[in-house]
Symmetry: C2
Subunit: 205 residues, 2 copies
């Protein structure tokens, strides 16, 4: 049984895009089983007193982030287009992702939806876009969207976000290991995989 790593992301989160694009191949190489965990950053930001993305609240940080993301995508050779508006409402996307993940096609869906938003500039709060992305993956959109909107699935997403809060997550992407380590940011993906894969250090605490 390979080691496991939880990959926490919000579809509106900019650095979750390169993380989602990269994680599949890197995890396979590290022999780590990744669990995709969509959640919502909104309630977590709200608890910190933020009403929108910190990249909007702090213009210097925002300006830097867009340029940094552009450079990262060029290095990865993946398309990049700054979404408008930003951040997008990721509620329905996260609900759909939970259902798709149950059906075993969720990881491809998540990567494709990130690309649609940050590569092609499409809106993830548009049902038509979600339909398109599902259809491209040969998934019939109607039953998935119906299940996504069910009360049970809404409750599940709320529970997932509450779990993220309990784990101390404050941003995305984040990675959590079975032994309780938290790694934050696309640039910590490799370290998180190394940790999950067994290259552990002793904590001095």
């Amino acid at each position: 049984m390979p080691a496991a790593l939880d990959f926490w992301f919000d579809f509106a989160s900019t650095y979750s895009y390169p993380a989602a694009v990269r994680i599949g191949a890197l995890a396979a190489r590290a022999d780590v089983r990744v669990r995709f965990r969509p959640f919502l950053l909104g309630p977590i930001f709200k608890a910190q007193g933020w009403t929108t993305s910190p990249f909007n609240l702090y213009p210097e940080k925002g300006r830097y982030m867009w340029r940094d993301l552009e450079r990262l995508c060029a290095d990865l050779d993946v398309p990049f287009r700054r979404p408008d508006p930003f951040p997008q409402n990721s509620l329905l996307a996260a609900r759909v992702a939970l259902v798709a993940l149950d059906q075993g096609r969720g990881e491809a869906f998540c990567v494709a939806l990130f690309r649609a938003q940050f590569g092609d500039g499409r809106r993830i709060d548009d049902v038509g876009v979600l339909d398109d992305v599902l259809a491209t993956l040969q998934i019939d959109p109607s039953p998935v969207l119906a299940a996504a909107r069910s009360d049970a699935n809404k409750t599940r997403l709320r529970a997932q976000t509450e779990e993220a809060q309990r784990l101390g997550l404050f941003g995305a992407p984040s990675f959590t290991t079975e032994d309780g380590e938290l790694f934050w940011g696309n640039d910590r993906l490799e370290a998180a995989l190394r940790w999950a894969g067994g290259q552990r250090i002793e904590s001095s605490e």
Copy 2:
């Protein structure tokens, strides 16, 4: 003439410690000439409405940062001790660094002072500690401290911090290239050196 990279740091900044420890060897390998640029984050944070480090203002982020830094230092095999208080007052340290850098011993001084604080838990606002670190490097402390406290040197540090603000810096460590790129964070050091060294990508802007 090798390419140049400016390394901006505040002595109170946690992630500036691993960056200062790593930059010498990495820059030599990349054939990039690094210019050490101490500055003060305080005025920049104040402009964002923060009265202390964001790691204190946002406890989850702070908790994560200390654990992350501990892991990073273990990976680098450098000592780590959480400084108390945090953040420390880095004003005198930055002034002394400017003088030491003029005298050609500044880089060793900066690395040694970061180690004293984050490795040995010593206070950088304590003149005795600054004296010790200078003496360890065979630098006579008295003239350096006198020059550090001169009006001309105080003005210089202010100008350096204002330049950092003009360049759009919002945190430390940061790296700026001759062609106007900004990289933020210890985890961007390699990318900044690659950029400065000539492996440039086209901006789509």
